[in-house]
């Protein structure tokens, strides 16, 4: 379920590092909690994000949730497909439903995040 090569935050974001860049999205658990996603407010390209800073907002039919940046970095790209097809977040949260591409500022911050195994344990704690 949760890819081994991603890192995971306690806010239920994932980050997939590709060299200096990284893709960020929300986890399958998060999309299930939210329900049908109908709107994603994306950050502007070039925005400098700090660790755990709000990067945008995701709205389901019922709920509004902040998105937090799992690491510090600069926004290189936002997934414009979500403007027309926000449901991609539900359908493919770890793939086509990605939210932003970041230039990672400080790789050591990744150590504050969880591995897939750790994240699954973390979820067990929540679901109990």
């Amino acid at each position: 379920m949760y890819p081994d090569d991603f890192y995971y935050s306690q806010d239920h974001e994932w980050i997939k590092v590709e060299g200096e860049k990284a893709l960020v999205g929300i986890t399958d658990f998060a999309q299930k909690q939210l329900g049908d996603v109908v709107y994603v407010e994306l950050p502007k390209i070039g925005t400098q994000l700090e660790f755990h800073q709000p990067l945008g907002v995701i709205e389901s039919v019922k709920a509004v949730s902040d998105l937090y940046s799992p690491v510090s970095g600069e926004v290189l790209e936002a997934n414009e497909e979500l403007n027309n097809s926000p449901e991609l977040v539900n359908e493919d949260p770890h793939g086509k439903g990605w939210i932003i591409r970041l230039k990672v500022k400080d790789e050591s911050e990744l150590q504050k995040l969880m591995s897939a195994v750790e994240y699954e344990k973390f979820l067990e704690g929540i679901e109990d």
């Binding site: 329900g35 049908d36 109908v38 709107y39 407010e41 039919v61 019922k62 509004v64 403007n83």
Partner: protein
């Protein structure tokens, strides 16, 4: 937390449960959008047993109901129902409700879950001088709603009640799965459909039989999430959001249910005065012109001045737009009028549109 008699059925179906005014209720089963569209195009089954039921009986039951509510309950004969309200002397809402005439001396008020105790106390506090009995039956009744274009086709084979002939707001007693039920052609979705009331201790038999009967024509269970988006598209009021003890019946656009000619009722003078002077504000439906979704309590601005708040706001699954309701000063209520809604740090344009947002096509 209170549980309806269908609680286990919901959990077996994998519903996501939430607390709703002290009740553990299903908010969604298979996803709000899917559920919403099923009701618009096929059929949906709702457990709405959290709704309150208050029985007023006795020789003066009709006089008491007439005093408490602005609609004309004297027009009801047995097995007829009407939409009405419990009004304060100011013409504002204690609650909105359905009044069912069960017999010439028995009226059943179906009220909001959040208000059932408040309503009961309110009714008791005005009972003096009326020869009536008032009973709060809220915990006894199971209420199931079957809504959508396939509702009749699904329900008719399960009961000997002639549903084909039943008109809107008519009701009838009969049997369903061997259990005694009251079925009415009413609902809270903007679709044709029925509401089923029963005192049965085994209402899950009814719930399961209807689901089984409808499974080949697209019937699915529906949670409170889609119930809210459905009622909003149909511009049906939600107590606590769109109407409350500060909004009058006339401001809420419900003047049609106020029957001044019927005689005295709580709020009559205030409403008559307000009608004479003209209302200063009125509820309107709007859609967001740009991007974003308005939610209840978001601020509403005209010429940079905050004039009110969104009372209900949501993404509309059927219209695929962001829609909502708010009260605007009367000079700004015309269709097409533009105003602003504060969505987080932005002010987004919204436009007054005709309501209901959604109206089912006539058969």
């Amino acid at each position: 937390m209170k549980k309806t008699r269908l609680n286990t059925s919901h959990k077996n179906l994998g519903a996501k449960m939430i607390e709703f005014f002290g009740w553990e209720m299903p908010v969604e089963f298979s996803g709000i959008i899917k559920e919403h569209l099923a009701v618009r195009t096929k059929a949906g089954l709702f457990d709405v047993s959290h709704m309150g039921e208050i029985l007023i009986s006795g020789k003066q039951a009709i006089d008491f109901v007439q005093f408490l509510t602005p609609n004309d309950a004297a027009r009801l004969s047995p097995n007829k129902a009407q939409y009405s309200a419990l009004t304060t002397p100011k013409g504002t809402f204690i609650d909105d409700l359905l009044v069912y005439c069960l017999s010439p001396e028995e009226y059943l008020l179906v009220v909001n879950a959040a208000n059932s105790n408040k309503d009961y106390e309110w009714i008791l506090s005005h009972k003096q001088g009326f020869e009536v009995m008032v009973k709060n039956k809220s915990d006894d009744y199971t209420q199931i709603a079957l809504q959508g274009p396939n509702a009749l086709k699904i329900l008719q084979p399960l009961t000997e009640i002639n549903l084909e002939e039943m008109k809107p707001f008519w009701s009838s007693w009969g049997k369903l799965e061997g259990e005694e039920v009251l079925i009415s052609q009413t609902g809270y979705t903007g679709e044709d459909g029925f509401e089923i009331y029963t005192l049965s201790l085994r209402p899950e038999k009814i719930w399961e039989a209807i689901l089984e009967q409808g499974k080949d024509v697209g019937l699915i269970p529906i949670g409170l999430g889609a119930r809210d988006t459905l009622r909003l598209e149909a511009k049906l009021m939600l107590y606590g959001n769109d109407i409350n003890e500060t909004t009058t019946v006339l401001e809420a656009g419900l003047g049609w249910l106020v029957k001044f000619k019927k005689g005295e009722f709580l709020g009559r003078e205030a409403l008559l005065a307000q009608k004479g002077e003209g209302i200063k504000r009125e509820i309107v439906g709007f859609e967001i012109v740009g991007a974003g979704i308005a939610r209840s309590h978001y601020p509403v601005f005209i010429n940079n001045k905050k004039v009110s708040e969104v009372t209900s706001g949501s993404y509309s699954p059927y219209l695929k737009k962001s829609i909502g309701l708010t009260y605007l000063p009367i000079d700004f209520t015309e269709v097409g009028t533009e105003f602003k809604i504060g969505i987080r740090d932005r002010k987004v344009s919204a436009r007054v549109v005709p309501t209901p947002f959604y109206k089912r096509s006539e058969k």
